[in-house]
Amino acid sequence: MNATIGMLKQRPFLVEALMAAGLIAAPFVLPYLGFTPSTLNRILVWGLFGIGFDILFGFTGLLSFGQSAFFGSGGMVVAYLLTVLNFPHVLAAMAIGTIAAAAIGFLVGLIALRRTGIYFAMITVAIAEVFFFVEFNPLSDYTGGENGLPGVPTPDLFLGFTTIHFNTDQLLYAFLAFWFFIGMVIGLRIVRSPVGAVLSAIRDNPLRAAAVGHNIHSYKLTAFVIAAAYAGFAGGLLGLMQGFMPPDAFMFDTSGQLVMQTAIGGAGTLFGPLVGATVWLYLSDFLQNVLHLGAAWKLILGIVFVLLVCFLRRGIVGGLADLARLAAGKAKPGEAAGRGTVAPAPSIATEDGPAIIQLTPSPRRPKPIDGGETILKAEGLTKRFGGLVANDGINFSVRRGELRGVIGPNGAGKSTFFKMLTCEMAPSEGRILFEGRDITGLGVTRVCQLGLTKSYQVNQLFTRLTVRENVTVAALAEKRGAFRLDPLRSLASVEGLAQRVEETLRAVNLSGRADLPVSELAYGEKRRLEIGLALAAAPSLLLLDEPLAGMSPRERVETVKLLKAISKGRTMIVIDHDMDAIFELAERITVLQEGRVLVEGAPEEIKGDVAVQEAYLGGVAAE
């Protein structure tokens, strides 16, 4: 898929043009393969339904088994307007149906998104079942209950001098193909927008997406509403296409079929659902009408689906993309330099000493309340886990511009301390002031937006994205704020973004590897990217949790240089077990032991301190 995206960047409208050509050619070519005109029309409706679902599942990683609720609701609103109320404007009715579905999606999303993973899947199933029963019983006066709403008029278009009635399968195809095209163009824009980038980041690593400063709940809700809107629109088209709004649109089978079609075609590709619908509907026609298998068609499709999930993980479109990449892979220079060959890493430091890396935060960031010397102050910070006191009344303050080292034996409470400072974890007691603001309990996202962030001890990267996309996601949070609804904007139009990404990549020495997927990086490179993610947010206070952990001696030397370079004009706190590195880097060092501050001072004082030697060497020095 990365190859596809690369291609998109070079020829921005290639995909759209190919799609238009395909849509025009399909009704002339596919009937020879046994597709009936009505099958083609149904494929388009399911494909359109699937675009929204793919944004939710393939791009955001939220697997909903309840899309039938929005498909049915949207369709019923449109059908009700056009039949019972005799509303004359088909397109306006479609718009109302879509908005209604989106609004329902918003409300349902508020509940379903309280949880993630399997809980989310279960809740969506349960909610969709409620809609099914409500449609059948309490609202049957409006929805026709099990009879549905018959008599939905075919759409027509008034052109001033004449009116087109889309009353044959062929004309209806043109109508549906037009809307599919529009839906796909919008879908592609969403996926390529800043919102789309954040959604992919949430899919890969929600924890980090929140930590770099994105309000992931709002973004998930956005994806959910987008999916509901597409479902509602497709549901409206279903009624128009059939001249009848069937109640089985609300059935669990509808949601299930959508999930299966998307998985067969390939999630995360936008075109996957269309391909999946083509395969599904064609096979179901073929098995029933040509082979006369009756009810067994669904058994066969079920087996096909299970086999595909087992052996072709990324579906048909994903499989084809992999094949294409395999074929093109040998010729690509970027890939050749990947695994195995160790390209000599250019030195970060020039001969004149480390280059100064200045990433100026955007003006949106709130100004410090007191612009004084102290950037961070923790008072009486305590964390208890049941009976265990991990941090016990820590008082700690850091001056602006300082590079502070925090050391301590294993189990001293260093990581807990860091987690409280970045508000990943609320302290049991005590408070934290950052630039004069009380940030205690503010949450990691808002704290990052204020300019305090952390690089993790264990890499927390967006594993399916490229290096550049990783850094872009982090930079977006700082450039756009925690949440912004600009799904139709292009990434290129975000002011200062490209520059920030390039600067960050240069700072962590990954410019040459920018378009590789994270999975192809060496360990040391991943560690540098981990730091780069924190750096891209242009933090005024950067916390680094064991940045040197697990590195080879050579990588350590490089990374210490890197840390020196990024510390210019920035405040940093570094935890590490590498004493030599900490003594070389830090201006002041805080030693933690058993959850308390043991001693604090300049490196020279710490080296000579008897208590520190005792803590590390277990009392030998004291004897």
Partner: protein, 291 residues
Amino acid sequence: MINWANFVSQCFNGLVLGALLALISSGLTIIYGTLGVLNLAHGAMFMLGGYAGWVAYSLTGSFFLAIVAGSLFVMLVGVVMERAVIRHFYSRPPEDQLLVTFGLGIVFVEGVRFFFGSLSKAVPPPPMLVGITPIGFMFYPTYRLALLGIVAAALIALYVALYRTRIGMIVRAGIEDSVMVGSLGIDVYKVFMLVFGIGAMAAGFAGIVNAPVVSLAPDVGESILVQTFVVVVIGGVGSFPGAVLGGLIAGEIISITSMFNPGYAYVMLFVAMTLVLVIRPYGLLGAAGRE
């Protein structure tokens, strides 16, 4: 006006349904808790138990043998399913696990439809449990009364197996931390296989004992699966007591609402689920971090 005899009998119905849901949900929840896999084919297991029992019943004429055969057959299906398919999905993303179990569920349902047809099958209760029994001021179907006892016994058996045996202790430890159990030198894969089998059997057992109450059809497991999800969300994932509590709550909500208007049963169930999600997001007896 509420007819009180009717109300009490509906409460009884709720208890029976609740016990049944509790049993099915415990199967789902111990599988999820131990293996980390949400089995979307769990409703199909319920259905398979019913059909396997029905086949055994028509062959032998013994309801007891039908229960044994139905349960063992579904346990076997569960074990084979775990060995042949699920085992290869432990290292894959949870979405893939959902997809494959969902697909397997469809294969089971459509397979049964293919061999037995879509028409529903009536399973008569065993002759000694036919009829109605007077209890105090009302009459209640004998089989339903017996069903309450049967399901309660099964729940107690499951409780004893989970809380009073060595294997049960390993399973409960696996729910808390299966990696740690593995590093203690216990073959977790064997435990996983066993748990999947037992969890599936719980649903299969429920399927056959419930068959005399509602007739059998290939899609009988679908609505049960949805209700089971609500039970698990209410009770808390991975919690056996939570499944029992959630099951009873859901059973009563469905029965009592149905007395007024069956169309609102799911709405009320959904309201209860939403309330729990708002007040206690991890379920009434669930713990954070089991997601």
